[in-house]
């Protein structure tokens, strides 16, 4: 299991022991984290699982692929350099300690 922290739009922090191989979005929705809609189900097709990645670990994340970069054009909240779609972040031991701040609006 890999420890991740989500910060909900309300500011509440939710620490989660995440299963390897799942996406950060799946971990969040299955544990009831508020603010992630994930309308498309994780196929990188809707931009409603937008998070800002924070912490030292963020720099170690594999870079987003072209499909995610293109879909990030569609986020409803402000797009920042640390914007990611959480359905495209795979849980691996390397991202232990990652903080994901959930965007304040998704659509």
């Amino acid at each position: 299991m890999v420890k991740l922290t989500f910060i909900e739009p309300s500011g509440a922090e939710v620490a989660i022991e995440a299963q390897e191989g799942w996406s950060a979005m799946q971990v969040a929705t299955s544990k009831g984290v508020e603010g992630i809609d994930a309308e498309c189900g994780g196929s990188c097709a809707c931009a409603t699982c937008h998070c800002y990645v924070e912490g030292d670990v963020a720099a170690r994340l594999p870079a987003p692929l072209d499909g995610e970069l293109a879909m990030l054009d569609n986020v409803a909240a402000e797009r920042r350099p640390n914007s990611r779609l959480s359905c495209q972040i795979k849980v691996t031991p390397e991202i232990e300690g990652l903080i994901l701040r959930v965007a304040e609006v998704q659509s």
């Binding site: 299963q19 191989g21 799942w22 996406s23 799946q26 929705t29 299955s30 009831g32 992630i36 809609d37 994930a38 309308e39 498309c40 189900g41 994780g42 196929s43 097709a45 809707c46 499909g67 569609n74 795979k90 659509s107």
Partner: protein, 387 residues
């Protein structure tokens, strides 16, 4: 001895008791009748959906696959080819690009609902949902009007399977062939006169400088029509059935149509029409003490995962306040349904307009006639009476 036969009429009618035994006692179950393993717990299905390298779609994704289709459609290819193909198509299905369809869809629904005014009893499927879905699909894809009834009939037939032979029957294959010929006619029309729509785009699309194979174009469009007509219609029926059976939920969404969105999500969890899809293993996998071998097929029973109390408390209760995120009603991960946004929009608008004319209703028959299908689940007739 426990048997799980996805071809059995008893499973068409009510798979949920068997799903419970699968989850609790046989979470990695070999079904000789299906000729494949069955995964039924939510977490196991999510893990399989994510691990496309192991659980491949390239040998087909329908429980009873149509001939020569695997490898030529979105649902039957793996990344990276899948992602490139999906990239060509998904723009047309994004929520923000569908907004212009809301009013045409509402007009279709309102016209069909108006025909129900003054009728105490009607067949929801024959009189409303099947006409609605096929006309919505024709509007979305810009198909020429005139063939709607036949397209609907063939789409419904091609997803079915024979409960006795446990395969596609000649009538199902004939419907599939008809649909391919129909798609070929539309492709030829668009190539002769491109109009910037999805089918025009796909008909001349390239990946890495290469034209799509003709089989990919033909079967992708055939599948879009099949899914658009049958999957959307099937879910519309399940949703109406849930509202007919749950008076409190029905009254809540009629009083406040904004609640329809939550009710749709709960119905996608409670009894999605997309009950079971399959994958093929590329390596041996040991799970819950069973070893599944490379080359074995694996059924991902979405309908079972959606009733898993390990994920959803009181899973057999229909509760529109649940907000069941992470449900498997549209599958999930790379192969999650392409049509999620259009489906949610069409179902919401369709029911809003139906409820204006028929706000209170109940089902007539306790035992419904169910479609014979190893993959999808919905009744073939749903008589409703005004309550």
């Amino acid at each position: 001895m426990f048997v799980f036969d996805p071809y059995s009429p008893a499973i068409d009618a009510d798979p949920f008791p068997a799903y419970r035994r699968l989850r609790d006692e046989f979470p990695c179950f070999w079904s000789p009748e299906a000729g494949m393993w069955v995964l039924s717990r939510h977490a196991d299905i999510v893990t399989a959906l994510n691990d496309w390298q192991t659980y491949s779609s390239a040998k087909g994704n329908l429980m009873t696959e149509l001939p020569n289709r695997a490898g030529a459609t979105l649902g039957t290819t793996d990344p990276p080819r899948h992602d490139r193909l999906r990239g060509l198509i998904q723009h047309a299905f994004m929520k923000r690009n569908l907004e212009t369809l809301a009013e045409p869809i509402r007009a279709i629904a309102a016209e069909l609902a108006a025909e129900l005014a003054g009728r105490d009893r009607f067949d929801y499927i024959g009189d409303f949902s099947s006409k609605f879905t096929v006309r919505v699909l024709f509007a979305v894809l810009g198909l020429p009007m005139g063939d709607e009834a036949t397209v609907r009939e063939k789409a419904v037939l091609m997803v079915q399977s024979d409960p006795v032979t446990r395969t596609k029957g000649p009538e199902h294959i004939a419907a599939y062939e008809w649909m391919q010929a129909y798609a070929a006619r539309i492709i030829a029309l668009r190539r002769a006169e491109p109009c910037g729509d999805l089918i025009s785009l796909l008909s001349s699309a390239e990946i890495d400088g290469d034209r799509l194979e003709e089989r990919e174009v033909l079967l992708t469009i055939t599948t879009l029509i099949m899914a658009g007509v049958e999957s959307l219609a099937g879910f519309l029926v399940m949703f109406a059935l849930n509202l007919a059976d749950h008076a409190e939920a029905r009254r809540a969404v009629v009083a406040d149509p904004a609640l329809l969105a939550d009710a749709i999500e709960e119905s996608l969890r409670y009894n999605t029409s997309a009950q079971r899809f399959r994958r093929c293993l590329t390596r041996d996998v040991t799970l819950h003490g069973e070893t599944m071998k490379a080359g074995d097929f694996v059924c991902l029973a979405y309908g079972a995962g959606n009733r898993d109390e390990r994920q959803f408390p009181n899973p057999d209760v229909y509760d529109i306040g649940r907000k069941p995120r992470g449900h498997l009603g549209f599958g999930g991960s790379v192969h999650a349904c392409l049509g999620t946004a259009i489906a949610r929009m069409a179902v919401r608008i369709g029911m809003e307009e139906l409820h204006r004319v028929v706000p209170d209703y109940a089902r007539v028959e306790t035992d419904l006639p169910w479609m014979p299908s190893s993959t999808f689940r919905s009744p073939t007739r749903l008589d409703l009476v005004r309550a």
